[in-house]
Every structure is written in C-alpha cells, then in structure tokens.
Symmetry: C2
C-alpha cells in the first residue's frame, strides 16, 4: 500500500491527478491510499473517501499532515498569479511559508525514522520563475529572474525542495508547468485565464474576452498532460536529475492567432466570432513578461510528454471536460 497525499487536491489539476491515480495507479506501486487536502472540494469531484478540508496557512496543519508519513506527496496548493500580485502578504504567506513548514515536518519524520523515511515530493512550480528578456527558446540553463511575486515564491520553494533533497531528507522535484489550457469551469484570477477562456467559452456558446493582441505567443499544455507530468515525476529515478531538481516541462508554443485558427478548425467560424477583443493594459503588461517558447531537453529526455498541436489541446478538452454537443 502506497500512501499518497495531494495538497491542493480540490483544485482543477489536483482533481485531474486524483482521477488519473484512481484509474491507473502509479507504475511500480501497488494499491494507492489517497488523501486529498484543500480549502474545499467540488461537489462532483473525484471519488476519494479521505478528503480533508483545511488550510496550510495554519502552519501546524502541515506538520500534522507530515506526521502521517505519506510515501508520495503532490504539493499543488497555491494561490494564483493574479491574486499573489494583488495581495503581497497573502501571496508570500500562502505560497512560501506553508512549503517551508511542511518540509520541516517531513524532515522531523525523516529524523524520527533514523533516516528511513524519505518521501517523494512533487511540487508544481511554474514558468513564472522566468523573466525577460528571453532568448527565442528558453533552454534548461536559463536563469530564474521572476517578474511577479508568484514566480518569486515558486522559485524560492524550488530552492528549498532542492536543498532538502540534496541533504536526503526528502526526494523531491519541481515541475515548471506550462500554462494549463483548456481549463474547464470558470475563469479564475490567474492573468493567464483568458488563454483558456477564448477556447472554452465559444465552445459553450458564450462570449469570451481577449485582453491581448492575437500575436501574443505562449507556452501551453493540457490538464491531461499536467496530470501525466505529475505521475511521471512521482515514479522517476531522481538520480537522473543530477542535482538539478527543477525541470522545464515540454509544452506547445503557439500564438493566440494560432489558438483561434485551431478553434475555427474544430468548431467553425461561428465559435470564433464569440471572441471579443477587449484590450486590457494590465493583463498585457503581465503577459508581455511571460515566456513564449522553450527547448525542454532534459524533461523530454526524462520521458515527460505534452501535446504537439493546439488542436490536440482542444480535443483533450472536448474528450475530458466538455458537456455540450461535440462539434467534431
């Protein structure tokens, strides 16, 4: 029996991951005993008996969870970029300190077990750890110079995970996720929310707001890929990381115009006409600082996989989350 904890298990990616673990398990592990932890859970969510409602900002909660000695921990809990930028205090209090205290809790268990307990920790970092100016493609040796609080917090968490791992207290890695697209459900406070909105809303017969020019290029992967990254990271031989425990993941680089053409290809021009350009200087300012393209050679060599066209990304949404009449 492998004990698995998903921190942030009520969120979109956490739910995708839980469903994938229920359906497929983890290679090399037997039965999984899965625990979800989050501020709340969707009513129609993944069928997991052990759902804990709580808040890691109460630092004692992280220590209490750590004391249960989970074998694999997925650390997805975070507030999103837009909120961390608006509320400086909440950003650092939510996105950094709970990580430190949880890692300290794991280290206490490591010590108490005389070194026998070394949990795998998979952390969802972000391409927001990077800041421009960028090369055409960001390679695996590019500096972290975040231009948002969210990115700074993710980068600081990466440093902690790397140091705790180097010392052998945990066996951790950080995944710099591409922007996850198409997110099901409603728009959220992330500045990147519109990348999903301009596909999801038109497919559902609704109007979508496009706050940036269609020449904006960005780096995407589907929720299905995100769940795949996480389970792959949970079973990876971390010796292959050679001490660099943060990975740029594969994704798809495309412009908003290319996203829109893929939508037209799948759902026709009527769908495209539901996209309403509505320039927003604040969103443009944030997005203009974001990475556009990567050459993620290490993660690709390690077997991480993502989509190779934006049409494929739309099709994942239609297959997994779309409730209406399939336009294909």
């Amino acid at each position: 029996m492998t004990k698995v904890l998903i921190l942030g298990g009520g969120g979109m990616v956490g739910q995708k991951l839980a469903r994938k673990l229920l359906a497929e398990g983890l290679p090399g592990h037997g039965t999984l005993d899965i625990t979800l932890h989050d501020l709340g859970f969707p009513p129609d969510g993944a069928v997991i008996a052990d759902k804990r409602t709580g808040d890691l900002s109460n630092l004692a909660e992280g220590a209490a969870l750590a004391a249960e000695r989970f074998d694999v921990v997925f650390f997805l809990a975070s507030i999103v970029s837009g909120e961390a930028e608006t509320d400086f205090d909440k950003g650092w209090q939510t996105n950094l300190w709970p990580m430190w205290h949880f890692l300290e809790g794991l280290r206490a268990q490591h010590r108490a077990s005389a070194g026998a307990y070394v949990p795998r920790v998979v952390f969802t970092s972000s391409i927001a750890v990077f800041g421009g100016p960028y090369p055409d493609k960001i390679d695996d040796d590019f500096l972290q110079s975040p231009q948002t609080s969210y990115g700074a917090q993710k980068a600081a968490c990466e440093l902690m995970i790397q140091d705790f791992s180097r010392k052998g207290f945990i066996d951790g890695l950080s995944l710099r996720l591409p922007t996850i697209c198409v997110r099901p459900g409603k728009a959220n406070l992330a500045a990147s929310s519109f990348f999903s909105g301009i596909i999801r809303e038109p497919l559902n017969g609704m109007e979508a707001r496009l706050p940036v020019p269609d020449t904006v290029r960005h780096w995407h992967a589907s929720p299905r890929s995100a769940a795949g990254f996480l389970t792959h990271a949970a079973t990876l031989d971390t010796d292959h990381l050679e001490g660099r425990r943060a990975l740029n993941l594969p994704g798809l680089s495309c412009t908003v115009a290319e996203q829109i053409e893929a939508l037209r290809d799948v759902a026709g021009s009527n769908a495209v006409q539901r996209i309403r350009p509505e320039p927003d200087e604040a969103v443009m300012a944030i997005v203009s600082g974001w990475p556009r393209n990567f050459a993620p050679e290490r993660a690709t060599a390690l077997g991480f996989k993502a989509e190779s066209s934006f049409r494929e990304i739309i099709e994942v949404y239609l297959d997994e989350d779309f409730q209406g009449t399939d336009p294909r």
Copy 2:
C-alpha cells in the same frame, strides 16, 4: 546627512567597507552617519561610534533597526558556507529568515511613510548560488542551481530582494561576490578559506595546508574590490538593472598553481615551500562543485571593477593588511 547601516559590520568585509566609507564617503551623498551591527566587533576595528552588538536571528531586532529608516543598508550578515552546510537549522535560521523579517520591517516603514521611504539595500550574495555542470565561462543568463545550503539561502534572499524592489518597497540589489582573497586574519569555517591561507600563511612565515590539487580553478577578488563593489552598488542607478537585481561581479579566474606562482613572484620560493599539500576529500567535494570562471558583462558595463592578475590581489593584501616586512 545620509544614514548608513552595515549589517554584519563586524566582519572582515564589513570593516573594509566601514573604513572606505569613512575615508571616501559615498558619491552623491554628503556626510554619512554610519551604524554597524553585528554579533561582535574586532578590538582594532574601524572607528565608528555607533556600533550595535546584536543578533538578527532575534527577528524583532531587524524590525527595530528597520524602524530607524536608514537611507542605505548593506546586508552582509551571514554565516559562512561550511557552517551552513554542517548545521542545516542554523544555516536557514541565520541566512534566510532574518532577511525576510528585515525586509518586512522596511516595507512597514515604506507604508508608514506613504511610500516616501524607499531605502537602497545592497546584499552580499555569492557565486555559491550556482551549481554545475558549468560552461567554460558562466554568463549573466546562467541558471541558479545551488549545491550547498549557503547557496540556496543566498539565492532565496535574492528572490525576496528582487520582489520587494519590483514592488517599490525598497531599491535593492544582490551582488554575487567572487571568493574574497586574500582574507586577513585567521582561517574561518568557509570551505574556501584555504584560497587565502596558502598566500597569507606563507607570507607570515607560517605553514599552510592545501587541501585540493593545484589544478583547481576558481574566481577571486580582493577585499578592496569587495568594498568597492558595495559602494558602487550603493550609488548605482538601479534603472539600469532592468528588473534583474542580482549581478555576477567581475573577478579573476586562476588556478591554485597560478596563485602559487604569483606568491613565488612576490615573495620567493621559500614562501612557496611553506605550502603543504594535504588532500581533503570533503573540501575537494565541495570545491569541485564551485564556479571557475565568469563572463560578467552586465556588471562590467555597469562599472564594477576587480583585479586583473593574482599578483595584484596579493599586493592589495600587502598594502592593506600585512603586518610584517614587505617582501617586495
């Protein structure tokens, strides 16, 4: 009157900086009102009236200092790499949390002044933020992947300084100092201590231990250069940093063999014979992970300067710190 605070003002670099400020002031500033803070001070130290003995690990102390609204803060306080590696708790407690709480203290003053108070903060980071494998020369875009706790702590402090600066709460920058050589005084717990020891001890008629092969290449600058980096950073127009507030500084790349030949050149073969090879696997393991050479184009363009030969570095030691009969 410009109020200047040197945190870690009792240390070797802090003292060099204090003497330089006393002698030269700061370009563009009038009279300086200098305060030093540290765990203790050397008896024959720089003549500064306002010396505060204290410990930033008492987090309230940082907040109290911040409340005095210094115009320029040099943040040098830190435990060294060897100690941070041996004592994991002490490393993070000393090298990270005091920075956060001090920055929060400055932010509280920024708010209380309705945004008028924006202190310059100059932080001594380190080339320990890097980890191998390295290119021949590390350029300004190279990733931070520290392989020591000290390096991870310095890199995390850099992220905080960058984010507080981006938000306008402070006007900060982080200087990734080369290894400072020749350090006067006694050996310390830094794994890099021998780089100074093999020059300083022979010049003073004492035996020196060389724990690594003489093929080891490393990146050096003198204490005089370190003080120069700090005063230059205090008066730099930070708009030129374009949002990347950590800088790789200029230095001199040379091998231990080249260091030894420079010593022979200055002080003769008798001095060189006082160097005793005594291989130490632990030191070699640490040093083998360190950077060897840089192409610090940004800092050079911004006017930071270091020595261009190791002989020059030895001569700075003879000029500033050597007490014996000058061998030149």
